[in-house]
Symmetry: C2
Subunit: 320 residues, 2 copies
């Protein structure tokens, strides 16, 4: 791999910033990590700038790709809105280019992760790809005929904010009944707390593990208890998987993909959840029997997907 094909990928999350040197095959040769400094946009800019300097010192880098939770404008220049950080109409691309002297491209983190799965992971060479990043919420991306589809204003593939239950659970987005309130790590934790709250005899392992404190119940706790054999937690996971499957059927009605790739902390970790999702998807697909089922696959690239995809998108858009 010639050196000019190297690109820097940056994944800015709510708690940490990961950066790496990524080659044209998606391999990471160096990596750095820093804590995200809360809501301080200037501090994040300074941290990212210094990480780019360190990774790029003495070598030729084609471009810098940044993935972050939030909405980027269609040109990859401006952060329209970020849920975790203080960016509102922030010209982050120009700021980073001025600070580093390098060419920069911004992408939504889920778009970057989905692109990486299309290029190097579970969706290689597929023509119609829908990726989901299942963590505390749902991130999404669409790749059709080798092109990331971001929508007219750059804010498409926010699958988690489709309303699937009218008047349902309140969502941080301001609406009620969003899909990510039923199919996510947050949904898993909420339902587990709800089972504890009704003093269910099913929930004794949950209560013990959480010291009877609902605040200590997380999606990770539920998945670890399920893996250790706790029936109540296993059932909670199946329930979340079924909601996931219903939403996949809705997405298939709109997008008719050849493959769904499920990644993210929750998606990658729990095979029984994906299995339940696939079964429910097939049971709910409109027109089943007269059309093929899309494949439902687990993501292959793990937590590096966002960094790898951001670097690759920047290299393709900006190199040469």
């Amino acid at each position: 791999m010639p050196a000019e094909k190297l690109a820097i990928g940056i994944d800015i999350g709510g708690t940490k910033i990961a950066a790496g040197l990524v080659d044209g095959d998606g391999n990471i040769s160096r990596r750095l990590q820093q804590a995200t400094v809360g809501h301080d946009a200037a501090a994040v800019l300074a941290t990212v700038t210094s990480m780019i300097s360190e990774l790029g010192a003495g070598i030729t880098v084609a471009a810098v790709g940044v993935g972050a939770a939030g909405w980027m404008d269609p040109t990859g220049s401006t952060v329209l809105f970020s849920p975790h950080l203080a960016w509102r109409n922030e010209p982050l691309r120009a700021e980073l280019e001025a600070a580093t002297g390098r060419r920069v491209l911004l992408n939504n983190d889920a778009d970057a992760a989905g692109w990486a799965e299309y290029r190097f992971g579970a969706a290689r060479k597929q023509s119609h790809v829908v990726c989901l990043t299942l963590g505390t919420g749902i991130g999404g991306s669409i790749v059709i005929d080798g092109k990331l589809q971001r929508g007219r204003f750059g804010v498409g593939s926010e699958f988690g904010h489709q309303i699937v239950v009218p008047g349902g659970q309140r969502c941080a987005c301001g609406n009620r009944g969003c899909w990510e309130q039923y199919a996510s790590g947050n949904a898993l934790a909420r339902e587990a707390r709800s089972l504890m709250a009704v003093h269910s005899p099913m929930a004794h392992a949950l209560r013990d593990a959480a010291n009877n404190d609902p605040h200590l119940v997380t999606g990770e706790l539920v998945t670890s208890l399920a893996a250790a054999g706790d029936l109540a937690c296993q059932e909670l996971i199946i329930e979340v998987g079924q909601w996931l499957g219903r939403g996949l059927a809705n997405l298939a009605a709109v997008l008719d993909p050849g493959i769904f790739v499920i990644g993210g902390g929750l998606g990658a970790a729990v095979p029984s959840l994906i299995a339940a999702a696939e079964t429910t998807y097939q049971e709910n697909l409109s027109g089943r029997g007269y059309r093929p089922f899309a494949q439902v696959a687990r993501a292959e690239l793990g937590p590096d997907a966002g960094m790898v995809g951001a670097a690759d998108l920047a290299r393709i858009a900006l190199a040469g």
Copy 2:
């Protein structure tokens, strides 16, 4: 317009078959119409063949485009399934090409209609287009960057079969709670019958107009009473419009279009329904305030859209 740019468009509906000679600007210079002979696929084939012969006699025709309710394979060759006609994995393209000696392309009728709105109607020159055909149900189409997006297996943009109410109204597709059970002419008629059934004093005009017979209540009856000033029917239309708007917000979360075009018998006829849909769409759009609203426009081409779009798609795909 040179003669070789003429194409024949055929729109096969559940009750009638419309055919026309369409030029490269979407103008129809000749047209024919025949009744659809129920579930008799051979009779439909014979009728379409004779219409093509009549329209094409003595002139140069670039291609024949057929639009029909149902699912076509991605190459436009085979009808996978049609709700109104007896086609199941029917190689209609090869049959018509053999019968007429002309080149033929099949498309879903809503895809054809949406394409026509993109090329010659309300969505001209728009990069990200979502079209809905609102009649007894909901047909849909997606055009991104000048390309009709049909999905991996050719069966995408079936927006009406997204489940928006878990366990809701039963749908002909076999599922419950599909969007088209809440935002369509059928939904309008069902809700009107429901209002009559509870002997509502609001429904006196409906009862009179339908001779107290629920079987005589149709979407058209409700819209005509609403246009004549009946308050109950006006409210029923607003309710259907609000359901339409909720679904548009869901579609915007996935596709982020620049414009929604609403056509079809119900969509084209009732401005108050579209106005209610637009308001509800804006009130329910996830991320409102941090992103632009898509335009919500009425279709411009009326009932000819399917014929014009089918002809245009065939000419572009097949002509010289």
